[in-house]
């Protein structure tokens, strides 16, 4: 089950906590993995650790030319991307009434626009090969909303609508498009929360704990597999029961 031998995967944001776990899991299932990120040293360290079947693709997703180049380079170097995991994301939190244009634009650009542009680069070859798996890492707050994160929530909700539209357009080409929506996962992003915030969150999670990156990446492995051929346009929620949607 879920054997990815010979499949080529590109994971964006692989220098972050969840992205790193996703890359590890896809690699463990046999995939050839392209690691995208901004922190080259972290990517190189992960690549060294994983050993064979790994490529490193540094790029700044806020730069549109770099996004296009990333798609072209990954497609050429990996010899066709079968599995695209759009995982990279940033936050620039703040209460809405004081949210600056810059913080709105930066989050939308990296979290949503770069997904559109990178996916566009890689979808056409997938359609031609009649096979592809596009997996977008959204967030529980894209569905529930969260105070202080209007920009982030808008970008993550946008990702879900984007995925559903694309899923309908290219289903006949055996290219599936799905989302994974993590709840609160132990990572650098949630590490920024203070104890009081964490306590409040725990109270809202039936499982009374944060999730792990591996619990998210196992959902990604499933969606990336050929076994998930009949799943498209869906969102898998991995959140300890925090929201049952």
């Amino acid at each position: 089950m879920f054997d990815l031998s010979g499949r080529k995967a590109l994971v964006t944001g692989a220098s972050g906590g969840i992205g790193e776990e996703i890359a590890r899991s896809l690699h463990a299932q046999g995939a050839i993995v392209g690691l995208h990120g901004t922190r080259v040293e972290k990517l190189e360290a992960l690549a060294n650790e994983l050993g064979e079947r790994v490529h490193v693709f540094p790029a700044n997703l806020a730069d549109r030319a770099e996004v296009k180049a990333l798609g072209e380079k990954a497609e050429a170097e990996l010899g066709g991307v079968d599995i695209l995991v759009n995982n990279a994301g940033i936050t620039k939190d703040g209460l809405f009434v004081r949210m600056s244009d810059e913080d709105w634009d930066a989050v939308l650009e990296v979290n949503l626009t770069s997904v559109f542009r990178l996916t566009r680069e890689l979808t056409h070859p997938m359609m031609r090969r009649r096979y592809g798996r596009i997996i977008n890492i959204t967030s529980i707050v894209g569905v529930t909303g969260n105070p202080g994160q209007a920009n982030y929530c808008a970008s993550k909700a946008g990702m879900i609508g984007f995925s559903k539209s694309l899923a309908q357009e290219i289903a006949t080409r055996n290219v599936t498009v799905n989302c994974v929506a993590p709840g609160f996962i132990e990572s650098a992003m949630t590490g920024k929360l203070n104890d009081k915030q964490k306590e409040a969150i725990m109270g809202a999670i039936p499982m009374k704990r944060m999730g792990t990156g591996a619990e998210v990446s196992s959902a990604v492995v499933y969606l990336a597999s050929s076994e998930a051929a009949y799943m498209t346009g869906q969102t898998l929620h991995v959140n300890g029961g925090m929201a049952m949607i």
Binding site: M127, R128, T172
Partner: protein, 78 residues
């Protein structure tokens, strides 16, 4: 048949997986060759790539047959 027509024909055959004798000048991509709307977009993109021309959306909408595609490309390259 011109060189352009031959190359267009080859793209259509490869992409749609149809027999060469069905790909006549008057053959409609959708009605005669079984293309769906996504196929027509992909064909246009393949023509753009092969011939290094840009086919705007409104022009693409009027390319319904093999002959239409050949004519458009011949004009664009002239």
């Amino acid at each position: 048949m011109s060189d352009i027509a031959e190359r267009v024909k080859k793209i259509v055959i490869d992409h749609l997986g149809v027999d060469a004798d069905k790909v006549s000048e008057g053959a409609s991509f959708i009605d005669d060759l079984g293309a769906d709307s996504l196929d027509t977009v992909e064909l246009v993109m393949a023509f753009e790539e092969e011939f290094g021309v840009e086919i705007p959306d409104d022009a693409a909408d009027s390319i319904l047959t093999v002959g239409d595609a050949v004519k458009f490309i011949e004009k664009a390259q002239a």
